[in-house]
Amino acid sequence: MNVELVHIHKSFGVVHANNDISISIKSGVIQGILGENGAGKSTLMKVLSGFIQADSGDILLDGKAVRINTPSDAIRHGIGMLHQDPLDFPPMKIVDNMLIGHDGGLFPNRREVSKSLKELQAQFGFNLDPETYVDSLTVGERQQLEILRLLWLGARVLILDEPTTGISASQKEKLFETLKKLAEQGMVIIFVSHKLEDVEGLCHKIAVFRQGSLVGETAPPYNTDNLVEMMFGKVISLDEKTRLENCEPAMEISNLSIEDNRIQIRNANLTVNCGEVIGLAGMEGSGQRQFLRALAGLMRPVGGDLRLSGKRLTGKPYHSFQDAGISYVPASRMEEGLIPGLSITEHFILSEDQSGFFIDREKAVTISRERINTFNIKGEPVTRVEALSGGNQQRALLAMLRTPLRLLLLEHPTRGLDIESSIWIWSQLKDRCKQKTCIVFISADLEEVLHYSDRILVFYNGKVSQPLDAAATTVDQLGQLIGGKGFQC
């Protein structure tokens, strides 16, 4: 099926998210879409998949104009979209998850569904048991499930919006293989991502967006510097790997044991020096999150000791950790980090130590204007946080952190952010290190872990490795360890 988008316009209030976008994709093509945060990529994908309607413009499928008003219209026309957070039903069985929204008689035939699922899986080498529950799958497997479901419903166009953020390296390989196979069968694949190497390796052509407009399209061979310049309108060079002189030990973790109903960590030991960056690597759910939350005081360890500059914090409530100078920036920005419905200014007010009872609005607005400038947030003091793009939400979270800080704990600090924002965020974090803050962070991006950490802890199924020197470790070594190969603890 050939897909054409013609003169698409879409505005949200004053934001022109899609400004006269025209793009044409032939059957069998993997189309890459690149662009900075807020460039309008997701907006265009949502228009094509029926989530939102364009203000004007046409969608042509095989040359015929179609109206797509809802996501179910889209799938009826053969357009399926894979969202970054899998849209499925976690507490249900895989078969039931497949059946919801599938047309047919009152009583579905589960056995037949299982059978066709197995047949589809065989084509791509997936291995999901139809009788297991969705919430027992990894993010990567849920993605596979959703692809299978869309194919089963007859999708001929597959849209993937940042599909590689939450999945392991081997799952990514498998995903790319699958996408290539589907393209060979004549499907259209649209692939949105911030990871240049992914897009370059996979796509037959790349369209670059900037501030709502289509800047241009390129075909292989790709030139990375050229792509970056198209995305940001300027050349951006990767920052130098810097290593600060560490000073005295700050956080001492001794024999820490953590337990919840999923994972057990026994006797973890680590001493973090001030100004040091520790990266936590591992497959999702290997215990690194529990470890970080225990350091934050959000989870009570079952044994062991936590000391910050000699002061014992074990068993103290969360606010004692905060008062001691520990801050935690969670991955789920909208659920734990920010409060939907409140403006940027109101967030700053909440994060400050308040002396008076009443809010000094004017002063608050002035301060938030200042911070919006220094942190380069694309938004106004009155903008509600949920209307900010992902990168800007992350900037807002960092802008809210108190100074001085002793220990900063971050989960996926740059997930979903474009290169420029990532580099910028890390420059801010490194500035904190210069002021003797130590940083412990989780990331699924191995390059990020290697590039920014001084030392690395690898987690595998609740086991914790000895600290590795980041400078002496390669991506391959790290990948092996994460997969549990050669793991000693």
Partner: protein
């Protein structure tokens, strides 16, 4: 088993029928993501209205019809205020619960103590003559038979049919259900109304069969609705388990009555009221596994014992539909 016990047990099945209707009605509503807190008052109001209708018209059928209609209407108010007006389901439901109760006492005054029609018993030929089973299950009235059918139909609908899966979907992940083609809010209206109508049948089931008549504040129905809400949780939003909870509750009530003569030291009020706290206690027990301190206490036990206890706790505990009580807006 002697005949008295058998008749007693058959009586439990009969008195549990309205509780079954109320708990399954609420289960269906909550599966769709809406909490209908009004059902305690609703049962009183429909008991009174159903009785009054049947006394006035002489028609049992009309009594039940009025009950279902009132149930549907009051639930429509809950649905409308939460879906269209985005108001708190708890606040609106609670106010409606109190209002319906007071309304039933006030409007029911003229019908206090009147004698009215009663749903006749309807033994099923052949089946009724089977020893034990016949007495237990098949010498009941049509309402009790309906309660068996309701349990089966509700269970099959929720777990075995396509619309039932979508019902689970809209209560679990409405955004996903929307992408899969559901008109989430319309379905929520429909299921709240259906659930409310089922609860609305529970009232007349009391006043026209289980506890015939209307006696105002001493009718003894106040509190049943709250228990039905607890049973919904106990039942893990599963019609089968909810029915089991209903039977358990009525069994406790019956035990209270039976044991009364042999426990003269305990005031009779205590035995009458006991089933309510006992039911809540069971609810707490069932969900013990959700609490963090249990996890931590268990951590000290030997590995095998802990595994076993954790497994039992996990099998018992129930988790509500993820989107229960949360309004849905598609962007």
């Amino acid at each position: 088993m002697d005949n008295n016990t058998l008749v007693g047990l058959a009586g439990i099945l009969a008195s549990a029928a309205p509780v079954v209707f109320a708990a399954i009605g609420e289960t269906i509503t909550e599966r769709a993501g809406i909490t209908n807190l009004s059902i305690n008052g609703l049962i009183l109001l429909t008991a009174m209205a159903g009785f009054a209708t049947s006394v006035t018209t002489g028609s049992l059928l009309l009594g039940f019809l009025v009950g279902a209609l009132i149930g549907a209407f009051v639930s429509l108010i809950v649905a409308f205020s939460s879906i269209a007006l985005k108001q708190s389901q708890v606040a609106v439901g609670f106010v409606l619960a109190l209002m319906s109760r007071d309304l039933s006492y006030f409007l029911g005054n003229p019908y206090m103590g009147l004698s009215g029609p009663r749903v006749p018993s309807l033994p099923i030929p052949v089946l009724a003559d089977i020893p034990v089973v016949g007495v237990l299950f098949f010498r009941q009235d049509i309402l009790v038979y309906s309660s068996y059918i309701l349990i089966a139909v509700a269970y099959i609908f929720v777990f075995k049919t396509r619309p039932g899966l979508m019902l689970q979907g809209i209560g679990e992940q409405p955004a996903t259900a929307y992408v899969r083609g559901a008109n989430v809010n319309r379905l929520r209206y429909i299921y709240t109304i259906i659930g409310g109508a089922l609860v609305g049948l529970a009232g007349p089931m009391y006043s026209l069969s289980v506890k015939v008549g209307w006696k105002g504040t001493i009718t003894g129905l106040d509190g049943i609705g709250w228990i039905a809400l607890a049973i919904t949780i106990f039942g893990g939003w599963n019609p089968l388990r909810a029915a089991f909870g209903a039977y358990l509750f009525v069994l406790l009530q019956w035990l209270g009555l039976v044991l009364q003569p042999s426990l003269p030291n305990i005031p009779s009020q205590v035995l009458q009221v006991a089933p309510f706290p006992l039911m809540i206690l069971t609810l707490l027990l069932v969900n013990l596994g959700n609490s963090e301190w249990v996890d931590r206490t268990l951590a000290g036990l030997p590995e095998e014992v802990r595994r076993l206890i954790a497994k039992v706790l996990r099998a018992m505990r129930t988790t509500p539909p993820a989107a229960l009580g949360i309004p849905f807006e598609n962007e």
